[in-house]
Symmetry: C2
Subunit: 388 residues, 2 copies
């Protein structure tokens, strides 16, 4: 693993993100973006805290079409927000169910509403509004005249393409994830309760420098697993099990998201074949991933390899996705997504297939798209199913 | 620590939760509740997965006024949902931005809309709608005639009072958290980068049986910390630092949420005094916490102790809150919350104060309310600031 990059970003990075958003806003006649979600508030401000785990308090960032973003946040976050590049920080004593930031938002946005201005709120695919729906409905009433449009396209366009500083963080956490998987044979053994395998993996990733392992799912069962999103049980690992761990570990707020498959003791033929098919599907994806190709193309390239073996059409919905401040981000490597791939997108390639009696297998690698093609951020999985 | 309780819940627990919700719905003339958030979907179904970390796919659970809940979910969750007590599971191939569950929701709710029925959606304090806002707006159009009311009160009333099975899980994770804090003097030392203190704490909690440590914040600074929600820096712990760690560790989907304060090497007088004041405020809270008292009463009891020392009115908004499947839940120990305390509520007592030059200190314990008063779930903090 390479040494850790710097934490945080220089102010210039936030200024550049803001300027890009403002250029798109200006094109669309928007006078600002109202943001409520952790990833978007952090993207434009640098405000980084696990406190979002508490659903109690709403947080708002308004990105105007000119000038710096304005934070409208609970007082408990003021000290941390003052460490960012944001100057205009307006706080209230939260929680305050009778007025959780609404008066402050009306102060800020009332003048825009009075002249019938347009602002954007992300309302589209993969977004959500992180504030009570009732408060949003009240706000619409208090800001009658304000034209609120869906601004998902602006946020999506910016966040899909990563800066070199973001890529450095992603490379670092992918390296930690890869080293953690490389250490698995030392920490996993037949007879181990699968929930203890999870604990051992988390502890190893932390030891190797991960800040956290917010996401860890997997499966283990005789001759293949049946489900890829379950929490682990106390069932001991047994000879002949196929085990998969899929991790989203974080460093400085950026995720890796990839998995590895192992056979415990010995590997059955069907699982070996499934593994190698997925490995080849990933190879095909790696070869096809270049700027200008479309997400749907990349999907079909991988799917055509899988189709030669998969007879049941296991449905995980897509074969990869964007990666960054969230475990999954835009775009989707799916038939419905015609987004053109761009340099410096960070993606997962995640082919999966069904085989045998309802078994499923998933592979995953993380890449950054460069001008000449895919650069792996993860240490490439071996071509044949490894046996522990 | 006591041995781990059983994972999961018997079907009877979900049936009882559903029946209680249905009784409240019937009183209010509601024909169902539409739920979108992890905690509420899990509360009524038992569907438990970290996959919610991916914001890509919406998940829906409809709790009708009679009969079992109906799951409308991405196909990727079908296998796991079939392991729960839910029978009616309707899936689609997600993500599918053109129709991410909306057609299935229209099939389900269309007949209710046609006769102008009323259903509930949580829209109030501490809730949010976990689906794209644009899709919700489309759904309202597709279900014209459906009367959608805020059902926060129903969800809140149910979730605030815990079953004995829930309390057993909460006691278990509070025990793991307490044991982790007890081990701190062995894993923390002067000169340690504070981010490594965080890693060491997480690893210890996992070693002692936590499933995960999704929340860990803290502060450390000469003579007192200034902020209680920041991620850690690489600054080494120094003699004279006051250090606080606040953790939300989980076991089987239930959280502890408490903190501990330590002095590194030596403790200054002001911090000692702040510590003991908060310890006494917690004692006052413990004595006053009994069924029938109001949240606001408990707040004032603790605040009156704090007021004797706090000259700056540090504003974290409240002095405790509910605890369960989320790090913070209803109710709030705050002047605005007149909720009457009930037996089997699980709460945090979290007095805080400002002192000196912008320093802040926070204490926290977790309790369950019994008929005769507070039962501690955490091992009570010592009365005087401990020195490592």
């Amino acid at each position: 693993m390479s040494p850790a990059p710097e934490r945080g970003f220089p102010d210039a990075e936030f200024a550049a993100r803001t300027a890009r958003a403002q250029a798109l806003m200006a094109q669309q006649g928007l006078e600002g973006l109202l943001l409520t979600r952790e990833s978007e508030v952090r993207y434009f401000s640098g405000f980084h805290t696990l406190f979002w785990q508490s659903p109690t308090r709403p947080w708002f960032l308004f990105v105007p079409v000119e000038g710096k973003p304005v934070a409208v946040i609970p007082e408990i976050g003021a000290a941390l927000m003052r460490q960012t590049w944001i100057d205009d920080i307006r706080t209230w004593s939260a929680p305050s169910p009778a007025d959780d930031g609404l008066s402050l938002l009306v102060d800020l946005l009332g003048p825009l509403a009075a002249r019938g201005a347009s602002i954007g709120v992300p309302k589209g695919h993969e977004t959500s509004l992180r504030m009570p729906l009732g408060d949003y409905e009240r706000l619409l009433g208090l800001l009658a005249g304000l034209d609120i449009r869906d601004s998902t396209d602006i946020i999506r366009a910016l966040r899909m393409v990563k800066s070199e500083a973001e890529i450095a963080k992603l490379r670092h956490i992918c390296g930690i994830g890869s080293a953690s998987f490389a250490a698995l044979p030392e920490i996993v053994h037949e007879g181990q309760a699968f929930e203890d395998t999870f604990r051992a993996f988390r502890r190893k990733a932390l030891e190797l420098g991960a800040d956290d392992v917010p996401y860890l799912v997997g499966g283990a069962d005789k001759g293949g697993y049946h489900d890829v999103i379950s929490p682990p049980t106390a069932r001991p690992l047994q000879k002949g099990d196929i085990m998969m761990l899929d991790t989203g570990a974080t460093w400085d707020g950026y995720f890796c998201d990839f998995d590895r498959n192992f056979a415990i003791g010995r590997a059955d033929d069907a699982s070996r074949r499934a593994y190698h098919t997925l490995w080849r599907a990933t190879e095909a994806g790696l070869a096809a991933a270049r700027p200008g190709a479309r997400c749907a193309d990349l999907f079909h390239v991988m799917q055509s390899v899988i189709d030669r073996m998969d007879d049941q059409g296991g449905d995980v919905g897509r074969l990869g996705h964007g990666l960054g401040m969230q475990l999954t981000e835009w775009p989707s490597l799916a038939a419905f997504d015609n987004t053109a791939l761009q340099e410096n997108m960070v993606l997962t390639l995640e082919p999966s297939l069904s085989y045998g009696d309802g078994r499923i297998m998933v592979h995953e690698e993380n890449i950054v798209l460069r001008a000449d093609g895919a650069e792996l951020l993860t240490t490439r999985a071996v071509p044949e199913l490894p046996v522990i």
